[in-house]
């Protein structure tokens, strides 16, 4: 069943067309990778889906509901969470306050406390540092916090923008294994990554973006062995 359908999406920044009509689907339970070079339109795609940008045309369907014109703050409670590029944790709030902010749209305190327990189980380090200001965490810890914060809304689909960017190799491994466990726990994942190798390794399917167009798509394992992909994105 399709969790997310994007149809012929076009986005303009002034006179520049950042997305030139892209279409793709994310099915329930899948991990979908969106790969491509800098400026290909990956971040724009995620920002448009989560309502931060308004497309000039096209449609976005979340579980058959048209969310194209719905403002960003209302999309969270429809089951979509977005872990933005650069993590964007609230540096002057504590780790715990950041996590609670993730559950802003939920009113049942007991359920929120349950979710918090579960997030702490997945990220024990966040629990150790729950009273620390988020700005004092390391980059990898901030990424975990951004992910934990997104999980606090109990999303059915999570958009992740460059979660491994700027992290040390150990944290990169850890972040990718966390993405896998988030997926195993039943959350659908749409992942944007420059680290194409790692992204393809954990994804079910992938789409390749080039200057605002999807130029290639298919099974992640097949794409990994595709010669043009190897050359352009995997550095082989």
């Amino acid at each position: 069943m399709a969790m997310l359908i994007v149809k012929d999406l076009k986005v303009n920044y002034g006179v520049i067309q950042a997305l030139k009509g892209i279409s793709f689907e994310v099915n329930e339970g899948e991990v979908i990778a969106l790969i491509g070079a800098n400026g290909a339109g990956k971040t724009t795609t995620l920002q448009t889906i989560s309502g931060m940008l308004t497309p000039s045309s096209g449609q976005i369907l979340l579980r058959d509901t048209n969310i194209t014109k719905i403002p960003g703050h209302k999309i969270v409670s429809m089951g979509m969470a977005h872990v933005p590029e650069g993590r964007r944790v609230f540096a002057q709030l504590t780790v715990l306050e950041n996590l609670k902010m993730g559950a802003y749209t939920r009113s049942n305190k007991r359920e929120v406390a349950d979710t918090l327990e579960r997030v702490y189980e997945s990220f024990p380090r966040l629990k150790e540092r729950q009273n620390q200001m988020a700005g004092t965490l390391s980059g990898g810890e901030q990424q975990m916090l951004a992910m934990g914060r997104a999980l606090m809304s109990k999303p059915s689909i999570m958009l992740m923008d460059e979660p491994s960017m700027g992290l040390s190799p150990i944290y990169v491994e850890e972040i990718f294994s966390i993405i896998q466990s988030i997926s195993k726990a039943g959350t659908t994942v749409l992942l944007v990554e420059q680290n194409a190798k790692k992204a393809l390794a954990i994804a079910d399917r992938a789409y390749v973006l080039e200057t605002g167009n999807i130029v290639l798509s298919g099974d992640a394992k097949t794409l990994m062995n595709d010669d043009s992909i190897k050359k352009a994105y995997l550095g082989e």
Binding site: G72, R88, G135, S153
Partner: protein, 293 residues
């Protein structure tokens, strides 16, 4: 005893500055703009209280409540009509609009109330305390003003720290886009901030005019600028900073008037501000935000 009397008067004036400075600092922190029309909302609030008490004979407290309601609505209206269409415009465009709104409010007041000063009746009937055998007199106005300021501060700090809309304000002030991704309605949060700031302006207007009873359409502009100075002094964006900045400014102003020169008092106040900013550009309690990339 003279010094103590001046100090208390300074604290009282400073409390008014602090309440006004809260409006500046919260709007700056959350909407990232300087609302130079804030001082004129105080003037409108004072007129509403004046009309309620003098013309309609309503007791002080309900008159102030009506003034709070009017100013809250006015603040939200100004935000909606003048500022929210400029959300993506440059800071300069918003600043000029705010100055325009300020003159607009002054001229509306001129049209409605005329340019002659009206004599504001104090909202505090209590004469105050006479201590040390009559040597130290503390007016009822001063006591009520200082206590109101402290109550407002405590309530506001609690609100920002412990309520959901307060948390939303902190999130929006730090990162608007990330706040949206949490499901926070940024426009509603900004509107709420204007509502709170303008409601406080009504209280400040009543307290200010109780101590300085001559009310004209320009009454709000100088205290407005001084409160803005107080907000910068304490560290703009910080609520405790507004309190500290306001109180210090009030005390410096009154002491300068008493011991140096009443003509030079304002110059001294601004000179102190310049010195503080030279030493600590973010203000006394302002934080230098360091971000990890």
């Amino acid at each position: 005893m003279g010094f103590l009397t001046y100090l208390i008067n300074g604290l009282s004036l400073g409390s008014v500055y602090a309440i006004i400075a809260l409006g500046y600092t919260m709007v700056y922190g959350i909407a990232k703009m300087l609302n130079f029309a804030h001082g004129d909302v105080i003037m409108i609030g004072a007129y509403v209280t004046f009309i309620g008490m003098s013309s309609s004979g309503i007791p002080a407290v309900p008159a102030i409540v009506i003034s709070i309601i009017v100013c809250t609505a006015l603040g939200m209206l100004i935000e909606k009509v003048a500022y929210s269409p400029l959300r993506k415009a440059t800071n300069l465009a918003v600043l000029i609009t705010a100055i325009g709104v300020s003159y607009f409010l002054q001229n509306i007041a001129l049209l409605l109330f005329g340019s002659n000063p009206v004599s504001f009746t104090s909202v505090v009937k209590w004469q105050g305390l006479s201590l040390a055998g009559g040597q130290l007199k503390i007016t009822g106005n001063a006591i009520v003003t200082i206590i109101s300021c402290l109550i407002i501060m405590v309530c506001l700090m609690w609100f920002v720290k412990h309520t959901k809309p307060g948390q939303a304000m902190r999130a929006v002030s730090e990162d608007r886009d990330a706040a949206t991704l949490m499901g926070i309605n940024v426009n509603a949060t900004i509107s709420l901030t204007f509502a709170i700031g303008s409601g406080l302006a009504a209280v400040a207007g009543a307290l200010l005019c109780s101590s300085y009873p001559s009310l004209t359409p320009y009454t709000g502009s100088m205290p407005g600028i001084k409160a803005f100075t107080a907000a910068v002094f304490g560290g703009i964006g910080s609520i405790p900073g507004a309190l500290l900045g306001g109180l210090l400014l009030g005390i410096i102003e009154i002491l300068a008037k008493a011991y140096i020169s009443s003509q030079l008092a304002d110059a001294i106040v601004f000179a102190v501000l310049i010195i503080v900013l030279l030493v600590k550009p973010t203000g006394i309690l302002g934080k230098q935000i360091k971000e990890k990339v």
